[in-house]
């Protein structure tokens, strides 16, 4: 495990630095904007909102660091660019290539009546962004890359938190 982790670290070091830079930049931006325009809300709300913003910023910067090479990053970027009101359209697009027994699920996600209990593959699809439109094979591949990037993300955020709290 050690050697593999080393190799993984070496390979994703570029992803790591890219992600770190973007994330730090977005953090700074957020902090600056926060300082300017607060005071009206309670502390809790502020915290929740900033948490959400930071989380979004983390995912966004990770997606951009990875680039559009991966399905999950593409889907993340798409979701970020288009606000939620177009969610119906995007999910329609996603179901086009599904071939398995969920075919009887109608194309419009709003009218889905799934006939069988959500399988493990389905729950994995929900977790990985953009997982709806992939078959199991590519889903597993995307999951592997996604796990690697999530790992990097956690480590970088960890070290940032460490650095700034000392």
């Amino acid at each position: 495990m050690t050697s593999k982790h080393v190799i993984a670290a070496a390979r994703t070091s570029s992803i790591k630095t890219r992600f770190a830079r973007r994330f730090l930049r977005s953090l700074l931006k957020m902090k600056r904007s926060n300082r300017l325009g607060t005071g009206s809300q309670s502390n809790e709300e502020i915290k929740k909102r900033s948490t959400h913003i930071i989380k979004t910023a983390a995912y966004a910067s990770m997606a951009r660091a990875v680039g559009p090479r991966r399905t999950w990053s593409r889907s993340l970027l798409f979701k970020l660019r288009n606000p939620r009101r177009i969610q119906g359209v995007s999910s329609k697009r996603c179901l086009v290539t599904k071939e398995n027994k969920n075919k009887r699920i109608t194309r419009n996600k709003m009218q889905i009546i799934s006939r069988e209990p959500p399988s493990r593959a389905d729950s994995l699809r929900k977790l990985v962004p953009g997982g709806d439109s992939m078959d199991i094979c590519s889903l597993l591949e995307e999951t592997a890359h996604y796990i690697k990037c999530l790992d990097t993300q956690v480590k970088v955020m960890q070290s940032i938190a460490d650095y700034y709290s000392n």
Partner: protein
């Protein structure tokens, strides 16, 4: 065309003929190309039909080995088919094609595009062609594949000359397959008869492969056996050529299915390496569960860290390199390069069953020195990690002798690396955020008692349980879970006192029985150490209890 049509009809190839008629391309040689040995060869002779240089090369190639076929495709087809049951000639023809097909066939198939000209299921078609074309088809053309298969099934049924029916080749499917069976399911539908014939062919082919020096097509035999070692899974231009191994079903569907399954298992293996602690897991279902859990835990960690970062104020000079190099590598080093000294972290065996322990403890490690009073816990985030922490601790208690836990304590090097007692304690206790504010005065347990641990079990358990109880109580105190606070404070108090009493007695008893291997000095040092530990625990207990009471008052 009519002649061939008649003879074909005899063998039930009416459909093929019709499809030939329907095919927009011209002439005899637009024999609907399926997977047969000769049909594609025949159709290749019309490069105009299927443009592409590959076709030309193919036709060239095909011309030499199959002169008979080229001249009179219809008759040759039927003749081959007629010969099929007695099949030596045909059979010898069979193994040629895989080699022949491995390189160029893919291009041929691809460029032919499996158009609406239709597909013929040729009874005599060599199984390799079946699987190759079907593989490619399954990979390339989804919807066309199905109707092809239907045609092929009907044709093969008709074409089976003796009406032989073998046992159906049933694939054993893994339990996950019904869920994951994207294209395999489609392929399974027209399985039946083609598999019988393919099986028969395969047996014969295996025999002939053992006798490569077949006479019927001497030239081609030599040529093909040279090419046959090319078989295997060499992906070329998105097509993967698979040869059925001995004893395996050679049904085209099953082969494609096998390819798919191997791909999936390969990806699962990759994932197994990524997710920590999954080395012993065999089985896709359990593995998938672990993967899902791991992804969820990672996402939870991101959320938790973002919450933590919300309170952080980054200064302007942002030194990315320093940030990245400083702590991450440290944590890395600590957690991952300590494989030799497994007892130190107690993690590596623990990791096997608690794969997320290292991930969880990372936040713990950094969180410890950050006694940030503003930390407001988000219950849902902490809950999950707390549960996992408890799982880890439970596992530790169950599976480790406390002596190995004692190994957690002693490492001076470890202490140096982390530079704070709190961090080391965090690692020992499995560092949760609860330890942050409460372990300020914890004396360093890293003073290695240089004693053999064989007799220390009771004391060690006492120590461990002290820490656990204290940590637990602290967690609940911090999280302001009122009802739990009361409960746990009671338990803490009781357990702590009990442990202290017990440890006191054992320590006294230990020294009283006069262990000869200990020097007096060592005993004194140990007594002092224990006394310090006791005091620390008492202090913490008091603090915890008071904290709980304070919280309970709300």
């Amino acid at each position: 065309m009519d002649g061939s049509g008649d003879s074909n009809a005899n063998l039930g190839y009416q459909k093929r003929v019709e499809s030939v008629m329907n095919c927009p391309s011209s002439g005899i040689n637009t024999n609907p190309f399926y997977v047969s040995a000769w049909d594609p060869v025949v159709s290749l002779s019309q490069p105009g039909n299927f443009g592409g240089s590959s076709m030309l090369s193919q036709s060239e190639f095909s011309n030499s080995p199959f002169p008979i076929v080229m001249e009179n495709p219809g008759i040759s087809n039927t003749s081959h088919l007629i010969r099929y049951p007695s099949g030596s000639g045909f059979v010898e023809l069979v193994p040629k094609f895989p080699g022949f097909g491995s390189g160029n066939f893919s291009e041929m198939v691809g460029s032919l595009g499996l158009t609406e000209c239709g597909q013929i299921a040729n009874a005599g078609c060599p199984p390799n062609y079946n699987k190759e074309a079907n593989n490619e088809r399954s990979i390339a053309n989804g919807p066309q594949h199905r109707e092809d298969q239907q045609l092929s099934e009907e044709a093969t049924i008709g074409a089976s000359p003796n009406g032989k029916r073998r046992k159906r080749v049933t694939e054993s499917k893994s339990p996950i397959d019904p869920n994951k069976n994207a294209d395999g399911e489609v392929q399974q539908d027209p399985s039946g008869e083609s598999s019988d014939i393919a099986k028969e062919l395969d047996e014969k082919k295996q025999k002939t492969e053992q006798n490569p020096g077949a006479n019927l097509r001497g030239k081609q035999a030599a040529k093909q056996t040279k090419d046959s070692p090319q078989s295997g899974e060499a992906p070329k231009e998105n097509y993967i050529h698979v040869r059925a191994r001995r004893g395996q079903a050679t049904n085209s569907h099953s082969l494609a299915e096998r390819v798919r399954r191997e791909k999936i298992s390969e990806r699962m293996r990759m994932l197994q390496e990524l997710v920590p602690g999954c080395n012993k897991i065999t089985g896709k279902a359990v593995m998938l569960d672990e993967i899902i859990n791991y992804v969820q835990s990672l996402q939870q960690q991101v959320e938790f860290l973002s919450m933590k970062l919300a309170t952080v104020n980054p200064e302007l000079p942002v030194d990315v390199e320093r940030i990245l190099s400083k702590d991450v590598s440290k944590v890395y080093v600590i957690l991952h390069s300590r494989g030799g000294n497994a007892a130190i972290l107690g993690f590596s065996p623990g990791i096997n069953s608690h794969p997320y322990s290292h991930g969880i403890f990372q936040p713990g490690i950094s969180v410890i020195p950050n006694s940030n009073p503003q930390f407001s816990p988000a219950p849902h985030v902490s809950e999950g990690s707390l549960q996992m922490f408890y799982r880890y601790i439970a596992h530790l208690l169950v599976s480790f002798p406390p002596s190995s836990l004692m190994g957690l304590l002693p490492v001076e090097k470890f202490e140096q690396e982390l530079k704070t007692n709190r961090k080391s304690i965090a690692i020992k206790m499995g560092g949760e955020e609860m330890n942050r504010s409460k372990d300020n005065t914890w004396p360093s347990p890293n003073r290695p008692p240089p004693y053999q641990e064989k007799s220390e079990d009771m004391k060690l358990w006492g120590v461990v349980i002290f820490g656990l109880i204290g940590a637990t109580a602290t967690t609940y105190a911090v999280k302001s879970l009122d009802m739990y606070g009361a409960y746990w404070s009671d338990i803490c108090g009781g357990l702590l006192t009990r442990c202290m009493l017990r440890s006191k007695s054992t320590w006294k008893g230990g020294t009283g029985t006069g262990r000869s291997f200990r020097t007096y000095f060592q005993e004194e040092a140990w007594k002092n150490y224990n006394r310090r530990m006791q005091e620390a625990y008492e202090e913490e207990m008091e603090r915890v209890v008071s904290f709980c009471l304070v919280n309970l008052s709300f």
